[in-house]
């Protein structure tokens, strides 16, 4: 199998299976979460707090008072990584073409050098976060194999995409295939690892905000 055939496979059957497992996995996990259900809260709400859940979705995206000073590495690297990854996934022209082919939707792309810089920033931030995780005793203790797998699965598409764009070390067609395979690995792992927070994050925030609002705790 030559490099172009490998790329055709990566864009073809491999991608089809990865996308199907991703779609099925995400729906399955969401179904699982929602179908768990909660017992009806029969108590009278302590405070009338409409929109508490929605407010929490936003407020939890900001560091709690004093936390930024206490743990700047986690917060700053976390922001840089997430923003960088978001820009790379949704604002690189070839990626928008991918989304357009699947959804019919399109939006303006960012200049490639800007996306390139955001990818570098995201990779550096991921490196810092890994080093911090390994050096901080509390974080290290809390980390399991799943965390490192999630880190690797997120880092690989960034690295391979960067290497493909800059023609580093490996022939472009092969590198592009490897980039697609790394994305496919991420797609397959996402529903079944902590990476599922991409979907569950806002659901759980809303729930926490809502339930605590009923209990009289400010969101």
């Amino acid at each position: 199998m030559n490099h172009l055939e490998l790329l055709t496979f990566a864009r073809g059957n491999a991608l089809n299976w990865a996308l199907m497992l991703f779609a099925a996995g995400v729906v399955l996990r969401l179904f699982e979460i929602f179908s768990l259900g909660r017992k009806a809260d029969l108590s009278k709400p302590r405070a009338n707090s409409p929109g508490s859940g929605w407010r929490t979705v936003l407020t939890r995206s900001l560091p709690a008072e004093g936390m930024l000073k206490r743990d700047p590495v986690t917060y700053i690297s976390g922001y840089v990584f997430h923003v960088g990854l978001f820009l790379a996934i949704f604002f690189l022209a070839p990626h928008i073409e991918f989304f357009r082919s699947m959804t019919g939707l399109r939006w303006p792309n960012l200049p490639t050098p800007l996306v390139d810089a955001s990818v570098v920033a995201a990779m550096v931030a991921l490196g810092v976060l890994l080093a911090h995780r390994l050096n901080n005793p509390v974080k290290r203790m809390l980390s399991g194999i799943g965390d490192y797998v999630a880190w690797g699965a997120t880092f690989l598409p960034l690295l391979t995409g960067y290497m493909a764009y800059h023609h580093l070390f490996v022939e472009y067609t092969l590198m592009l295939s490897l980039h697609l395979f790394s994305v496919e690995l991420l797609l397959v792992l996402l529903p079944f690892t902590k990476l599922f927070h991409t979907f569950s994050l806002f659901i759980s925030r809303w729930y926490n905000g809502d339930i605590f609002g009923r209990k009289g705790v400010a969101s």
Partner: protein, 371 residues
């Protein structure tokens, strides 16, 4: 080497042919300089080439055409440097070529056999077209199957040049579902040096440049992993494309005739396969350096790559899936939902069973057990 230097003209050599045609040494050196540049050789090599070519005997060439469209021959007849006339009269002796030779039938086949006999171990074999491995009747010449003619003719060849994507990698005849069982030259011949010059068709100067290299150095040029001369196939179309800066800036044409396309913006979104195609179109160009497909407004279709015909739609961007559809994702989501229902049902029935089997224990029961 000075231009004024006289070289002894030997009978039967290219030099003699040049002298007879009134080609001056200055003109010949000029030609060799452009050839050296084409082959990515240092300028100093021009003199060496001139010396080697003028002393070389006219190379015997046998050209076999199998499952092809004659596009490769059409292309080489439009070569400009050297022109086909130059190539045939000055540098090679084209002893057999269906389309170009005057002879036909037995006389043509006789010419091939005679050339093979006279130049045993020295002739160059050029092949265009793929070879059907299914029914031999799919493609035969003078009652001889393509496979047998290739094997027979390759036996005494010094080297083989496979021109066109059909001969190099199977090309369009090999495209799915490959009805004739087409294969490439290198799938059959394993014991001869093979130079692959792919393209649909290949660039004329690439074909003639490879022949000139063989004549000059008597061997094959440095090849890449797919058997292509690195001097012509060392870089992708994309990397040498004049529209490349627009790709880097994220500026793309959305349709073939929009303002962006006319302004020379990148054709990536329109399906250009330049980023994964190795060829010299963007540098040597076509029609005597006039332009190349991307310059004419159409994306590269990747014709010099193996299996390019089956590498996804021509008009889909490289970052688009080859065959994934929204309906497919919808079906997967429905399957996920069905699995979710099954899991929910399982969870709830486990919960209900636990609830049903729960026995209430009273204080009296515990007291009795205590005794």
């Amino acid at each position: 080497m000075k231009n004024t230097q006289q070289t002894k003209i030997l009978p039967g050599t290219v030099g003699e042919g040049l002298a007879q045609r009134g080609v001056t040494r200055r003109e010949f050196l000029k030609y060799c300089t452009s050839l050296a540049a084409l082959l990515a050789l240092p300028p100093a090599m021009a003199g060496v080439m001139a010396e080697a070519i003028s002393k070389a005997r006219r190379q015997s060439v046998i050209w076999l055409s199998f499952q092809e469209c004659t596009g490769c021959t059409e292309s080489i007849t439009r070569s400009h440097s050297p022109t086909l006339e130059n190539l045939i009269f000055d540098m090679i002796s084209l002893d057999y070529h269906h389309t170009l030779q005057a002879a036909s039938g037995d006389a043509a086949e006789h010419a091939r056999l005679q050339s093979m006999k006279d130049n045993e171990g020295k002739y160059l074999l050029i092949v265009d077209g793929s070879i059907p491995m299914g029914n031999p009747g799919y493609s035969a010449i003078a009652g001889i199957s393509n496979h047998d003619m290739l094997v027979e003719t390759a036996k005494g060849a010094a080297a083989i040049v496979a021109v066109g994507t059909c001969a190099t990698y199977g090309g369009i005849p090999m495209a799915n579902p490959n009805p004739t069982g087409a294969v490439s030259v290198s799938d059959i011949i394993k014991d001869k040096p093979i130079i692959n010059v792919p393209g649909c068709p290949p660039i004329p100067v690439v074909m003639t440049g490879v022949l000139a290299h063989f004549l000059t150095f008597g061997g094959i040029p440095e090849l890449d992993a797919l058997g292509r001369p690195k001097s012509f196939y060392g870089e992708t179309i994309h990397d040498r494309c004049y529209r490349r800066p627009f790709y880097d800036q994220g500026k793309f044409a959305e349709t073939f005739d929009d303002e962006a396309a006319r302004n020379g913006w990148c054709l990536f979104k329109l399906g250009c396969k330049g980023p994964v195609t190795y060829n010299a179109c963007a540098t040597t160009k076509w029609n005597d350096g006039t332009s190349f497909p991307i310059e004419s407004g159409h994306g590269c279709i990747g014709c010099s790559e193996p299996k390019f015909w089956d590498a996804g739609p021509f008009y889909k961007a490289l970052s688009m899936p080859v065959s994934a559809t929204t309906a497919m994702l919808g079906a997967a989501a429905v399957a996920g939902a069905a699995a979710g229902v099954a899991i929910t049902w399982h969870n709830r029935s486990t919960k209900a069973a636990a609830k049903a089997s729960h026995e209430t224990v009273t204080v009296q029961d515990l007291a009795r057990e205590g005794k």
